[in-house]
């Protein structure tokens, strides 16, 4: 019986982790170009994620 006292929070935490990841992906515009993403995996060269260099330095 005591098992559910930590199992439920654990399940919730995992779910919340997934939710946070989902919200992050929408914020960073990963669904803005679904067709492009599907095609880009066919490209040979390394396709690095878009990184704003100015942002990085800050």
């Amino acid at each position: 019986m005591t098992a559910i006292l930590w199992l439920i929070p654990a399940a919730l935490a995992l779910g919340a982790l997934g939710l946070a990841a989902f919200i992050w992906t929408t914020r960073s515009g990963q669904y803005d170009d679904l067709e492009g993403a599907a095609e880009r995996i066919l490209m040979e060269d390394d396709d690095k994620p878009i990184v704003d260099e100015d942002e990085e330095r800050r």
Binding site: I8, L12, F22, D33, G36, E39, D45
Partner: protein
Amino acid sequence: MAALDGHGFDLREEAGAHVRAADGAGGLKSLDLAVEGARCAACIQKIEGALHKMDGVKQARLNLSTGRLAVSFQGADQRAGDFIDTLDRLGYPARPYAAGAVKESQSREEKRLLRALGVAGFAMMNVMLLSISVWAGEGEMDLATKTLLHWISGLIALPAVAYAGAPFFESGWKSLRARQVNMDVPISLAVLLACVLSVYETAMGHGEAYFDAAVMLLFFLLIGRWLDVRLRARAGQAARDLAALQARIAHRIGADGAVTAVPASDIAPGDRLLVQPGERFAVDGVVVEGEGPVDAALVTGETAPVEMTPGADAYSGMVNLSRPLTLQASAASADSLLAEIARLVEAGEQSRSKYVRYADLAARAYVPAVFAMSALTWAGWLVVGGSMHDAIMNAIAVLIITCPCAMALVAPAVQVVACGRLFKSGVLVKSGDALERLADADYALFDKTGTLTEGKPVLVNAEAISRGDLELAATLARASRHPLSRAVAAAAGPGPVAADVSEEPGGGLAAQIDEAEVRFGSAAFAGAQASGDAALDAWLSVDGRAVRFVFADRLRAHAAETIAALAGAGLPAEMLSGDRKAPVAKTAAALGLDRFSAGLKPQDKIARIDALKAEGKKPLMVGDGLNDAPALSAAHVSISMGSAADISRSAADLVIQGDHLEALPRARAVAKASKARMMENFALANLYNAVAVPLAVFGLVDPLVAAIAMSSSSIVVMLNALRLARA
């Protein structure tokens, strides 16, 4: 007409005018380009690779879904022109694109709904996890554990409902305040009641909670809502891309006489603008200097050029043909053509807003029925001697179970699939209800110039003219932008241009070739006997000989098939044109149309539409010109060409990209199919209610039944909508 606008030189300047300084240090500038023709990984690689190789380019990223290329670079604004040249060489025509504020707010709403969808999905899964253990432990689980699990469910569900349900609560509240009921009212009520009831039951320790039903409801509804917003955002985006593809630059003459290129949106009334030959008038105004012909096909529907003199009114969309003109931009004065058109368009849109979508129609019938059923349940239980608690419980259960989850998904699911299919075949649908109206239409009205015809003249008597004469005329004609000259140049193919061609406005072209005076132009100019018939013609005079060139506006490819196909689909066609009687009658004969009228003003076209409406018909209007805009907005449903005037494109419900007329019957077929699918979906949703409502009325619904019934009905409706994608 496309050939007349868009010259490399203008485009380079235009691109420069759209460059903006990017945020952040380093002098980076950014530019958005709308790129045509990119379809696959190889295109992305070619485009991005070529730009990255150019000096100073920091970042080039192509969005394949929207066809937009974002470039950030260092250097002068004029570099923008080099990017366009590079893309052009690769075979991808590109135009600068001004990002609008509208897009921002739309994508914000889309992202907010997507986040709400994520939250509702998270809550649904976790609450369901707990609910399933409650259902599975039925009879074995003690009340304390059950209550604990319900409290945890509530703890997850209540904040999730507050966040994810907000779009529905807001919209429902707004409609209540306007003293109306939309679907969001029963949705909000069901969700809120389910939550309140569950909290009450859990606190009382009775042990029935509907938290799972509430969040699941929101999850499914948000899918529909998000699809709807996404669809509209995509159609809007494509419409704006079309607008970006039209020349949007003007040359302003400063106080010191210097000419600068500015985006058309920066022009204020009173500005003096220089309009070069070949350039499209960006704004309305009055000609103050210069005279010469302009192509007004988009404005009046007439194929023959119009002569401009100082004091004449010019309208955006006209194309200057041969001489530089100076224009004074005017605010749309109350009696100008454009103001009149805008007023008529507005009046048409008001009458159209009376149209009620099927979904809203269903909501109007549905909402009172549900409330009545719920009240009857409450009264019924009291009458047969049930307790007040049971009566209220069952009345609320009716409200929850009938909550129009499937009902609310019926329309958006079908419309998203149908519009997605049309989008792929080049038809833009600007609103969901446009498809409903297209399916209902039972009469078709067509504009002539630019819609059924290409809107530009072509040489029709080439076989009567000797090759030598045609060549001679072409050497003159290649120097001019006049539509008739262009038609001759096109008929002769590429070749040399005569030196020192002079062009007389309203007359024609003259040059010295081999020490002989060669003239090409009107009968009077070329010194020939006017023929007397109404055909559009020009004369070549050389060595005292005069050769007649006859021109006509050519039918678009598939025009006749389209009309036949529509007639077969229950849409008899009629032609309404602003052009003169003779060419209209000829076009009608070529198309096999016996119903047509010529010389119509915008008001006359509306009058015809109103007359049809009075007969109980639902007319479809297809047009492209400024003069068609009021008719487009007055018709039951309207379609415009991609090359149409801005105002017509915005007045129309559907836009055919690439001007492929044959897309029209296809759009109609898809609209019909989607209407059928929608009706099936309504039937399915009603079937679900026919089963679920009696259960709720007799108090047989527990949370498990509610969860299964709601999810299965929503999924069935969505699967049925998806069948459209394959048909």
